[in-house]
């Protein structure tokens, strides 16, 4: 498993945590919300089946829903941030109603708006995203704070009947940006070619 994904603060290191999650992805499809989740996923290794959302804040989980409905035999992971998830909270209700078994929504929660000056988000003041997902009707929803809990939960992200929600509390250190490709048409066409085989 390599070294524990923990930062100096004792909190989980987001980049190592994402790498640990994606090490088991097999043929899973990945949507990343704007900002640090994109850099985390790019640092873990680019793949054709990664779709990095550089904008459209609040939409990552819903992109995941449309994809999960269209590709019911493949696992769909959405990795996003707390600020991005907070902007689209209604998606929790919409996803819970649809109950896609193959969708896991993962929020890397550093309690900060990392791209705009590290202002605290609502989770910093106690808003409980996994509690909200539970209340919406996600059959599996957890908050993860430790390396051990993360390791124990990773198989659930890929195997449990979803939708699964995982809020992962991570250190708020500003890490070097690892930028994936940013041309939207290229990213979307690459992803679709890899998954569907055609653009029609």
């Amino acid at each position: 498993m390599g070294i524990a994904p923990v930062a100096r603060s004792g909190k989980l290191d987001r980049r190592k945590a994402v790498a640990r999650i994606l090490a088991r992805r097999d043929d899973a499809l990945l949507i990343t919300g704007l900002g640090s989740p994109c850099w985390d996923a790019a640092a873990a290794g680019d793949a054709d089946e990664n779709f990095y959302v550089w904008g459209g804040m609040g939409g990552a989980a819903m992109i995941g829903l449309g994809l999960a409905i269209a590709q019911p035999r493949r696992r769909v992971l959405v990795i996003t941030g707390d600020g991005e998830m907070l902007m689209g909270l209604g998606a929790m209700a919409t996803i819970a109603v649809q109950r896609p078994k193959n969708l896991s929504v993962i929020v890397m929660d550093n309690e900060r708006y990392g791209e705009t000056g590290m202002q605290p988000t609502h989770t910093h003041y106690g808003v409980d995203l996994s509690g909200m997902a539970t209340s919406a009707g996600f059959p599996v929803s957890v908050t993860i704070r430790t390396s051990r809990a993360l390791d124990a939960f990773v198989p659930t992200l890929y195997e449990a009947a979803g939708p699964v929600f995982a809020g992962i509390k991570v250190d708020d250190a500003k890490l070097p940006m690892v930028l994936p490709e940013r041309d939207g048409t290229w990213l979307k066409s690459r992803f679709r070619k890899a998954v569907v085989g055609s653009l029609d």
């Binding site: 459209g56 449309g66 209604g90």
Partner: protein, 199 residues
């Protein structure tokens, strides 16, 4: 002077005489048979996911989609969810449509950047309010600007104000959206949908 209504006392029976209560659900317009034509256009056009925020003008089409074995109906909490969802649907190989009222167009604007930047195909069917025989003044600000706002956000606008032309406009617009990777909005006039008779 009459005494005020006391606690626990029944309110005088004036409730059925207020303007709101007097509004009948009866509608003007040309009937909603066009919805069946749109449903067939959806099936013929390969639409598999239909996301919607309900509008009375879409009620029949929503019911048809929700009872269809070929279409997954997805109720949304806000219209921008549908924009993002249909991008995901296309990434996974399925075509979708977004049904909304004109007041929902404004909710979509930033999410439409995702569509424009990536050149995702997007089809939306907008039931107009605040546009033809409207009674509720609060519907006018968004309804009057729906076409301009969507146009500004990079969406191709196809207005239709005759019931007989709705299905063919939908068919042509689906082809335009999915063949040329563009966002296309068909705006169905209140003239077609009908407006609430408030008095």
């Amino acid at each position: 002077m009459r005494s005020a209504v006391g606690i626990g006392q029944r309110l005088p029976a004036i409730r059925n005489q207020g303007p709101t209560a007097m509004a009948k659900k009866k509608k003007s317009g040309t009937g909603n048979g066009w919805a069946d034509g749109v449903y067939r256009a959806f099936i013929d056009g390969g639409i598999r996911q239909v996301a919607y925020v309900p509008d009375a003008g879409h009620a029949r089409l929503i019911a048809r989609c929700e009872s269809s074995p070929k279409i997954r109906g997805v109720p949304l909490t806000t219209e921008e969810e549908g924009v993002a969802m249909l991008a995901g649907a296309w990434l996974g190989g399925q075509r979708g449509a977004l049904l909304m009222q004109s007041s929902g167009a404004g909710n979509c604007i930033n999410m439409l950047a995702l569509i424009q930047e990536c050149r995702f195909p997007l089809f939306t069917l907008v039931a107009m309010r605040g546009e033809w025989g409207e009674f509720n003044p609060w519907q006018v600000p968004m309804g009057d600007r729906t076409a301009r706002v969507l146009d500004n956000a990079g969406v191709l606008i196809k207005p239709v104000d005759e019931a007989g032309r709705v299905a063919e406009t939908v068919t042509a617009s689906l082809r335009l959206a999915f063949s040329t990777y563009r966002a296309v909005a068909v705006l169905i006039s209140q003239r077609v949908i009908g407006y609430k008779a408030w008095e």
